[in-house]
């Protein structure tokens, strides 16, 4: 096989449609007779529902139906547990999943109470005002610590507490490590991650065709197969009666994975009831409450180190804000727990978390999915230790990196995919070296003195991370050569901009000797590919990519076999290139792939036993466990010492995600991740009051970074292939976003020499105002 495309910066196949306005997004679906839905949402975070009266709404011209929880009858069921908790001994997990429409009680602002169906979205919104709702307010559970005190109001009354989960994991003997340590540093850290805030909001279109007894659902989901299976079950339909299509999706980053959101559950049911297609497009205001968040954790953490800065152990006790329901099991906090260990040798670790129910929107994974929180704690602990021990921050990291000969490296605790956390491969020190080189670490330290003398406040930060990627269970792909010679590849995952149309095409094109533009990828349509899990946890390229590779290889074998029969020669004497198979040295004697495809589907004669018609193959790939990518970010900032505004002067990322399929797409993934990391670190903050009201529910006040806040980034990479899959690839979807918080904290502290002022930045997000307030609070 020649690798013409694999590893090359191939331009994307999907671009043309997107650049000319021809790509189909959810709100572009227009069907004759289509109705429009709008949801009445709770304005209270916690309240008992006394009465909902929809009679006035029903009278409004253009309104077709209004439904509340009571109308659902037996259809009303709490959502499924999406990710079961890993089997960690003695852990507690209290499952409470979201309900399709609130009944008895509302548990967060924005929880839907009723749905209006009307001839237009405008009218549906008018009718929301006609619904009379009587809510009896209850005390809102917002503060994590207060939520756990006896006597706190309860999000779920029957539970008796607000504990969603409690998990303890450990390795080694932390207590002994702390006892013999030269230094133990203990701090409280607060890390808040925000919302994914894709530029396209969510949406669902459901179309029940009574005559064919068939349901088509267009959904902004990252996991169409999973959604189909779930919806078919609740609707009482066979899976073959339901087709879920994830069209072009305008960004995913986690919250669009597979929530079984109330709207996803409502629309198909409504369409069946009314026998008409129905559309719901989330508006931006709804998006702030109705789409899941990722939010805060509070860590009380300590690190025990030797005199020369070697880690002896880490202890961490943390609280995790889970929001009103916990359909994702332990996914987010367990990522925090596992990823905290980072690329370092940590001989003993003692970590306990309590996930807490609050009267706030549901927390589910958003790019990074809890990894940020853990990385922040570890990186900050190392900074504090470096300062105390008078060791350079980059140096203390180097001393603790897992050595290259220690892989595969067992971490001794259990990860989100149920397996023991084990790093498959890695070579960490060169990544750190390359980063320091690229940012000009040594030179900067000298330059900094000069600039300080001129009154300029510049600082540098360096932060390391690992990222568990490419977890199972599996993905599949069906590769088929069509009679026109074009190759079609179908997989079950959805795509939200990751370039799957191109990277999968590269893999297939190389195996089948065709041009990358001759490979058509179908993703996200359950009728085209029946099985699969979805695009999340940086797994699309790894898991589905390998399945595409396997299936393409099988088709290649079939083609060669057919040609060798036709030419009556050995397969070794054949070459597959430029869409045809020819005999070595006799290029004029060839069969095109299209011709072979036709021959593989003969109109006469029998298909031989043990063979199948068609030049096609379906193969599956399931990695035994996740592949671990790693990287280092470094940044130089200048801070205005009076306004505390900052400017990023230089930003470097060096990472290792194994073998790279398409460096152009990879760069894009890293850039986008860093931009989200910058938003998280310094701009984006969900501001709730103590009643659970979000005070900045608009894009004017929830600050996504623009082209002026995101700097030019310099990227480098090293390649340590993963042994866990034949192509050696590791995921890269989240790497850019993970370590940006600690980088900001470190660089700002350095720029403003905050250590000398006894100011420590132990929280994210930061802002000019927050830095000012912290400095002011530290002044006597």
């Amino acid at each position: 096989m020649t690798t013409r495309f694999f590893g090359a910066p191939v331009k994307r196949n999907e671009d043309r449609k997107l650049l000319t306005g021809q790509a189909l997004f959810i709100d572009d679906v227009e069907l004759p007779g289509m109705l429009h839905a709008a949801f009445l949402r709770s304005h209270a975070a916690h309240a008992r529902i006394k009465r909902i009266d929809v009679s006035r709404a029903l009278q409004r011209p253009g309104v077709v139906a209004v439904y509340t929880a009571d109308d659902y009858g037996a259809y009303w069921q709490p959502g499924p547990l999406l990710v079961p908790p890993p089997p960690i001994p003695r852990s507690i997990f209290n499952l409470r999943t979201q309900v399709p429409l609130a009944k008895d009680k509302v548990r967060h602002v924005g929880e839907p109470l009723a749905v209006v169906v009307a001839e237009s979205r405008y009218i549906a919104e008018d009718a929301l005002d006609d619904i009379d709702v009587d809510l009896e307010p209850l005390p809102a559970v917002i503060d994590l610590e207060a939520a756990l005190r006896p006597g706190s109001a309860l999000v779920h009354d029957d539970l008796g507490s607000n504990v969603s989960a409690h998990v303890h994991q450990s390795k080694g003997d932390y207590r002994a490590a702390a006892a013999k340590a030269h230094l133990v540093i203990k701090r409280r850290f607060a890390y808040e991650h925000g919302i994914a805030s894709t530029i396209e909001t969510r949406g669902v279109v459901a179309h029940w065709e009574a005559r064919s007894q068939h349901m088509t659902i267009w959904d902004t989901t990252q996991a169409p197969v999973f959604v189909r299976n779930g919806l078919a079950a609740v609707l009482g339909l066979g899976e073959r009666q339901v087709r879920v299509i994830a069209p072009f999706v305008g960004g995913g980053f986690g919250p669009k994975i597979m929530m079984f959101y109330p709207e996803e559950v409502a629309l198909p049911w409504i369409s069946m009831r009314l026998n008409r297609p129905v559309k719901w497009i989330e508006d931006r205001l709804e998006h702030f409450f109705a789409t899941t968040h990722e939010r805060g954790q509070i860590h009380d953490a300590e690190i025990a180190v030797t005199r020369d800065g070697r880690i002896l152990g880490v202890k961490d006790v943390f609280l995790h804000d889970g929001g009103a329901y916990d359909p994702y099991g332990l996914t987010v906090p367990i990522n925090s727990q596992c990823t905290l260990l980072g690329p370092y040798v940590v001989p003993s670790y003692d970590s306990t978390f309590t996930a807490v129910f609050t009267n706030l929107p549901i927390v589910t994974p958003y790019r990074g999915a809890g990894r940020q929180h853990g990385v922040f704690v570890m990186e900050r602990l190392l900074d504090l230790a470096a300062h105390e021990l008078n060791i350079d921050p980059a140096e203390i990291r180097r001393r603790n990196l897992i050595p290259a000969d220690a892989f595969p490296y067992k971490n001794g605790i259990i990860y989100q995919d149920f397996s023991q956390l084990e790093y498959d491969s890695g070579n960490y020190e060169p990544v750190l070296d390359q980063t320091l080189q690229a940012i000009g670490y040594a030179e900067f330290k000298q330059e900094q003195e000069k600039l300080r003398a001129q009154g300029r406040h510049v600082g540098i930060g360096v932060a390391c991370y690992v990222e568990g990627t490419g977890i199972g269970p599996y993905e599949g792909a069906k590769v088929q050569v069509q009679a026109n010679g074009k190759v079609s590849v179908a997989t079950g995952i959805g795509t939200q901009g990751q370039g799957h149309f191109t990277s999968f095409a590269q893999i297939a094109a190389d195996q089948l000797g065709v041009d990358v533009t001759d490979v058509e990828i179908v993703t996200g349509d359950t009728d085209q590919f029946y099985w699969g899990a979805g695009t999340f946890a940086s797994r699309g390229a790894v898991v589905a990519g390998n399945a595409v590779n396997e299936a393409s290889r099988a088709v290649r074998q079939k083609a060669l076999k057919l040609a060798s029969d036709a030419f009556e020669c050995a397969e070794e004497d054949l070459v597959l290139a430029d869409g045809k198979i020819s005999i070595v040295g006799i290029p004029e004697k060839f069969l095109s792939l299209g011709e072979l495809a036709k021959r593989a589907n003969p109109m006469r004669g029998a298909v031989k036993p043990g063979t199948e018609p068609g030049l096609e193959s379906t193969q599956y790939f399931g990695p035994p466990s996740g592949a671990t990518a790693n990287g280092v970010h470094a940044m130089i900032v200048e801070v205005d010492p009076d306004t505390f505004d900052l400017k990023i002067l230089k930003y470097v990322v060096v990472h290792d995600c194994g073998t790279v399929i398409n460096p152009l797409i990879l760069e894009g993934q890293i850039h986008g991740g860093v931009a989200q990391g910058i938003g998280n670190a310094f701009y984006e903050k969900l501001v709730f009051d103590d009643q659970g009201q979000l005070l900045n529910a608009s894009l004017a006040d929830y600050l996504l970074p623009t082209a002026l806040e995101v700097p030019r980034m310099e990227l480098g990479h090293t390649v340590t292939p993963s042994p866990l899959n034949p192509m050696g690839i590791k995921g890269a979807g989240e790497a850019g976003a993970i370590p940006v918080g600690p980088l900001f904290a470190q660089a700002i502290e350095d720029a403003l020499q905050l250590k000398e002022k006894n100011v420590e930045l132990l929280e994210i997000p930061l802002s000019p105002s927050r830095i000012f307030d912290l400095i002011k609070a530290s002044e006597p």
Partner: protein, 290 residues
């Protein structure tokens, strides 16, 4: 996020617009650039029964250069940005316009809509106050002229009566030996200011300040006229001590409330920092002009 129903009328003349407004009063809103009104309607925070579109009224658009500069209410930001004569005379606008939203919004938003909307965090109300602009209000009953400082009554509240329209704004030209500066801090470029300062310093023949006008945005319910607090600068050349003292006096006069982006303490701090920087720059520009 779709607007509630309303009746739309495109006004064919100023008189038509004023007659309509007299008829519908508070039930009606003028639609100028729509860059504040339409978002508010999409959020259903504003639900006018009648929308009077004044975009066709060329008679209230445009810039008139005379001894004073008269700017029609319907003049769009982009027209101000492109008029170099205007930016020369009203140099505070040259500093401030790039801070207002983004090019797409500046292509629609109007000066009259901005001032009538009276967002206390907006740049232009503070500039109007600093420049001692005079606002001409018209209704079917007649017309009156108000000083900018009287026009702004509170957050999103002006002295406009239910039947009145702001038709133009008159700005005095920059005096000789005058220097100006507008500075603000926002979280991102184009966002409303956390705090902003507009200053006009006029120098005497000796290079001392003979008059100072200073107003702030973002730190109160209205644009804050802090010229009195800055008055000790009069008689002073550009020097650290008096500028610091003026900034301290300005900080003492304002009562910022804090918001989701900034604590009140930080806003006050920032007002002082920006005041110092802006006053210094205004001095320097005045010296340059002289």
């Amino acid at each position: 996020m779709k607007p509630a129903p309303f009746k739309y009328i495109a006004a064919s003349s100023l008189d038509h617009a004023l007659t309509l407004k007299a008829e519908h009063g508070d039930e009606a809103r003028f639609l100028a650039g729509g860059q504040s009104l339409v978002p508010a309607m999409n959020f259903r925070l504003a639900r006018p029964a009648v929308v009077i579109d004044i975009n066709g009224l060329d008679e209230v658009a445009g810039i008139d250069h005379g001894s004073t500069i008269r700017v029609g209410a319907l003049t769009r930001y982009c027209a101000l940005e492109r008029d170099s004569e205007f930016l020369g005379c009203c140099a505070l606008f040259a500093d401030a316009l790039p801070h207002i939203a983004h090019p797409q919004i500046r292509n629609r938003g109007t000066i009259g809509g901005n001032l009538s909307h009276a967002d206390p965090a907006s740049e232009l109300p503070a500039i109007a106050v600093a420049m001692e602009a005079r606002m001409r209000l018209k209704s079917a009953r007649g017309e009156r002229v108000l000083a900018a400082s009287e026009f702004f009554q509170g957050s999103l509240t002006t002295d406009l009566a239910a039947d009145e329209m702001l038709v133009d704004v008159e700005f005095p030209a920059l005096p000789p030996r005058g220097g100006v500066c507008f500075m603000e801090m926002a979280r991102r470029r184009g966002d409303f200011a956390i705090a902003g300062v507009a200053v006009i310093v006029t120098l005497d023949m000796e290079g001392r300040c003979s008059k100072v006008r200073l107003a702030l945005c973002g730190v109160g319910d209205t644009p804050v006229d802090a010229s009195e607090a800055a008055a000790p600068l009069v008689g002073q050349a550009c020097a650290d001590e008096p500028i610091k003292a003026a900034a301290a006096a300005i900080q003492a006069t304002i009562e910022p409330a804090g918001n989701v982006h900034a604590s009140a303490d930080y806003q006050r701090h920032l007002a002082g920092v920006l005041a110092q920087r802006a006053i210094r720059t205004a001095y320097q520009r005045a010296v340059h002009a002289a």
